[in-house]
Symmetry: C2
Subunit: 372 residues, 2 copies
Amino acid sequence: MAVTYELIKEEKNTKARLGKLHTPHGVIETPIFMPVGTKATVKAMTPEELKDMQTQIILSNTYHLYLRPGHKLIEEAGGLHKFMNWDKPILTDSGGFQVFSLGELRDITEKGVHFRSHIDGSKHFISPEKSIEIQNSLGSDIAMAFDECTPYPADKEYVKKSLERTTRWAKRCQEVHKKSDVQGIFGIVQGGMYRDLREQSVKEITDLDFPGYAVGGLSVGEPADLMYGVLDYTVPLLPKNKPRYLMGVGSPDYLFEAVIRGIDMADCVLPTRIARNGTVITSRGRLVVKNAKYAKDFSPLDPECNCYACKNYTRAYIRHLFKANEILGARLTTIHNLYFLIQLMENIRDAIKKDRLLEYREEFYKKYGYDL
Amino acid sequence: MAVTYELIKEEKNTKARLGKLHTPHGVIETPIFMPVGTKATVKAMTPEELKDMQTQIILSNTYHLYLRPGHKLIEEAGGLHKFMNWDKPILTDSGGFQVFSLGELRDITEKGVHFRSHIDGSKHFISPEKSIEIQNSLGSDIAMAFDECTPYPADKEYVKKSLERTTRWAKRCQEVHKKSDVQGIFGIVQGGMYRDLREQSVKEITDLDFPGYAVGGLSVGEPADLMYGVLDYTVPLLPKNKPRYLMGVGSPDYLFEAVIRGIDMADCVLPTRIARNGTVITSRGRLVVKNAKYAKDFSPLDPECNCYACKNYTRAYIRHLFKANEILGARLTTIHNLYFLIQLMENIRDAIKKDRLLEYREEFYKKYGYDL
């Protein structure tokens, strides 16, 4: 099998786990945060910079790469790894989330989704089969089954119909998947905020026996407590010998709470997106480095951080770069934010090893300024 | 003296010279091309990337740094080197060129130049004294005397009056310069395209005995042959034991022709500016990587180049990055263009050593597609 999960340890006081995810391009220590490289590049970064900060895996987006430059072109280039000069694992999403986010530009049928490109308005159709074809061409280590991410809020009847279609689509993905030796497909559990529907979806999707499972349909605008509740009752239903992936989560509090509930993998554009806007995540909470109060602040973004940006530059300099619209500004804040989250996950893994995850969370939140 | 020039060798067949320029932050082998870091950053680059490509010195702009973030702030930060994390030599211009380029926004008097900021329209005044004060605060290794860069074309009477004022200003710069132990000021020769005025300016400026001299007022829109002509009769008048700097020149042909005429230093925003626009300088001439014909071109920007971009990425990938508006695109083309010019200057120095500069130029032009 292309992708296998090795459970190393379960933490004593929470549902957190330590594991190793074996993929064609290497072994990933979990729990892990995955930086997002939407268009075959983690924005503003080189692969070497990502490796320097111990990035183990990145995520790339099927929808965007299908539209531009096109999956066939990437296949001709030798696959996504070679195209973008990244030789470690890659996970690709199914394209579903982006397509459904198009709103009026798309139309969902049993066969698949008709939509118009956000770039030039051209007409396209992505089905489960097409999604897998694209992901096969890209050659990611982990492909995602094509699902419908139900919005929040959504009425129960719709969510039920949708999750059942997601199951049928998952089956179709599995059937056409041609590269099970070099690529694993993860199934996605849906069911909205309804416990019985989550149970139904877990049953249907795990019956298909994927090498990994995502909890989908979360972090879509619902209150944090609702998300935690869904994780509380959904994650324990998933098989222990498979990795669990929570999509679209990347703030320190979400990462802590997800891991505590048994999640092994997460991704989010948040750290890279807010970085380009001049906002950094620090051990003392978020900091908007563009603010006037940092004009003469000659301390690093985060005095406790050892990233390249914090070791070599001051808030005053980085603020100047942002005011002057200089690319190096976004580079430095991106390096910092990704380093911060990757370091956080390393610390979390270490705390799991020592059965002190709750203590570590408390220490972290105290400085970070987050009330449980 | 803070800055001294050591003449190593004169080429047999041209006026080209090999030299070493000793500065407070290290020794520079000349002839040299200096990347431009206008706003305390070479656009899109880190200092480490510049060092990796053997950048020996960078140029930064007094006008821009005076306006934002302000020279006093940079002084408080410990000087420009520390502020921007660059520990090798820095040359700062005088601010004159930028101020004069403001057109209707400025007014020149004997005392100095009144102007309005291009950022917020606020009123400012830069005099020779102020320019040196700013450059002292920045702490560059090489400061430039405040001069008037006469435009092209300009009538002789105006050019004569202007060059004479430039001489008076140069004297005033020298008089207020406080840091001759850690910073050298270069004088600037003006005189437009008039041989007798160039001779007059050289005499007046060299009489002041600066540690280096720039040939100013060239590369301002005049035909290349006219520039070469001015260099032909001006450079030999400059003292042999001082470096000669040609401002605003950065295309391979200009660099060759300047060096052949005895120039030791040059700078230009060209390589970094066209890079961000998707144009690269290669051994076979310029290449606009955004063009559709490179969509499936899986060869490097320049197959003969050993830069990071050429070793790791294809034209197809870099084109994709530009089409998708990704920062990494500008990073890769900037790396390539700077590497290319720095490598070119290294090859030129090597050719001078071997007394074969004209042969090397011919070999280069043949591939590059430039007709002498």
